[in-house]
Symmetry: C2
Subunit: 233 residues, 2 copies
């Protein structure tokens, strides 16, 4: 996955992208194309292509006579899937995971409400399949199988909302869920209450009950927030 070896400029990005997003170069740092080309042992043309990509992500700004300057974090295109992956792979992974989980808590309930209104018969069936798959793997250390169905479930909800902006957050949710299972807090088996909620959401969507689907999904996301101790009582 990720940029992969898609050409030499991809290799350069694989090390330069994570370095910048990790904050190794403070905002305002100046890099020179020629120097970078030497450092990575590539031609200037290749390095220029890499810089152009970083520039399109608003990670850097290239100006004549001054060089390639690193932009402050506040200007980065933090919704770029590549940037998200780089940051999740880096040191501030926990902070990133929190931001994304909060975003989920805002978006998914609304998406579920829309899905209840717009989901096709196929999508309803798929949703039920996913929920059943979660139930089937909710006990007995089958975390990987559970994760697959969990990710699929949320992807279907977001896609069924009919809103393309929501649909494109499927990858983000997948990263968050995957991260929770693989790196962060994840108990032996998933919370049975959460599993039940997913089943109920599938039912609500099939029944076309937008309010109920939204409320149930909100409970799911609240649970995700609590797992990360995001809560001000």
């Amino acid at each position: 996955m990720s940029t992969a070896g898609r050409g030499l400029h991809g290799r350069v990005l694989d090390t330069l992208g994570p370095a910048i997003t990790a904050g190794e170069y403070p905002p305002g740092s100046v890099l020179r194309t020629d120097e970078l080309a030497q450092r990575f042992d590539v031609s200037r043309s290749v390095m220029r292509e890499a810089v152009r990509v970083l520039e399109s992500m608003h990670l850097v700004e290239s100006r004549r006579r001054v060089g390639v300057t690193v932009r402050p974090k506040a200007e980065w295109n933090v919704y770029d899937p590549q940037v998200i992956r780089w940051r999740l792979a880096g040191a501030d992974r926990p902070r990133q995971l929190r931001s994304l989980t909060v975003l989920r808590s805002a978006v998914e309930p609304v998406a579920a409400a829309l899905a209840a209104k717009n989901a096709s018969a196929e999508q309803c069936a798929e949703l039920t399949q996913c929920a059943l798959g979660m139930v089937a793997n909710s006990r007995g250390h089958k975390l990987e199988e559970y994760l697959v169905h969990d990710v699929a479930f949320h992807r279907v909800i977001l896609a069924a909302s009919g809103n393309e902006m929501f649909a494109r957050l499927g990858d983000v949710v997948a990263e968050v869920l995957s991260g929770r299972t693989h790196h962060d807090v994840m108990f032996e088996d998933p919370d049975p209450a959460a599993v039940t909620l997913h089943v109920q959401v599938a039912e609500a969507v099939r029944a076309g009950d937008a309010t109920r689907a939204e409320e149930l999904t909100r409970e799911i996301t609240v649970g995700a927030l609590q797992e990360l101790d995001i809560l001000a009582p």
Copy 2:
């Protein structure tokens, strides 16, 4: 604004980007770098940089021996500000505006709730200033002045939430509000009820009342949805 004349490759993107996002090239269409370079009268190096940028936006995919193929809309990085601008400038502007408004309706209430908890004294003051500016320009055909304060208001809310993902949606909200004033439905003067709601949100945030700030903001975004006839009663 936008990519501007930032080099020759920027010029190329200014016409190629809008063309692709407008759907002029159906998904799967094949472009050849050399041909494009000739068409735009630039060198292959410049053309390659432009293609790299389009590739990083997931608008196209470059493969050896086959060429530069246009990706299906579902794979585009629709959160890229540049892509958003291109699409807003094109034919499916109405659809795009609807998608973004729905996104707003999901995000802004949650952001307001967080802002009530996290906003600094300066941000509270700024928020009140914006609300007052909206009131002052709510009557007498001062739409431009009103817009400025409206945009600033929502930017402060999103920034004060303390969540970077929310904060980066400031530009998106600005585009939506600006679009509403300049191109789409906008009555002689803003809805007085909406103006009042903004003032009340500012008060709620200052008072630290998260629930009230969230509910009031939800009313604002519901109004925005109604303006675009997004409602299934």
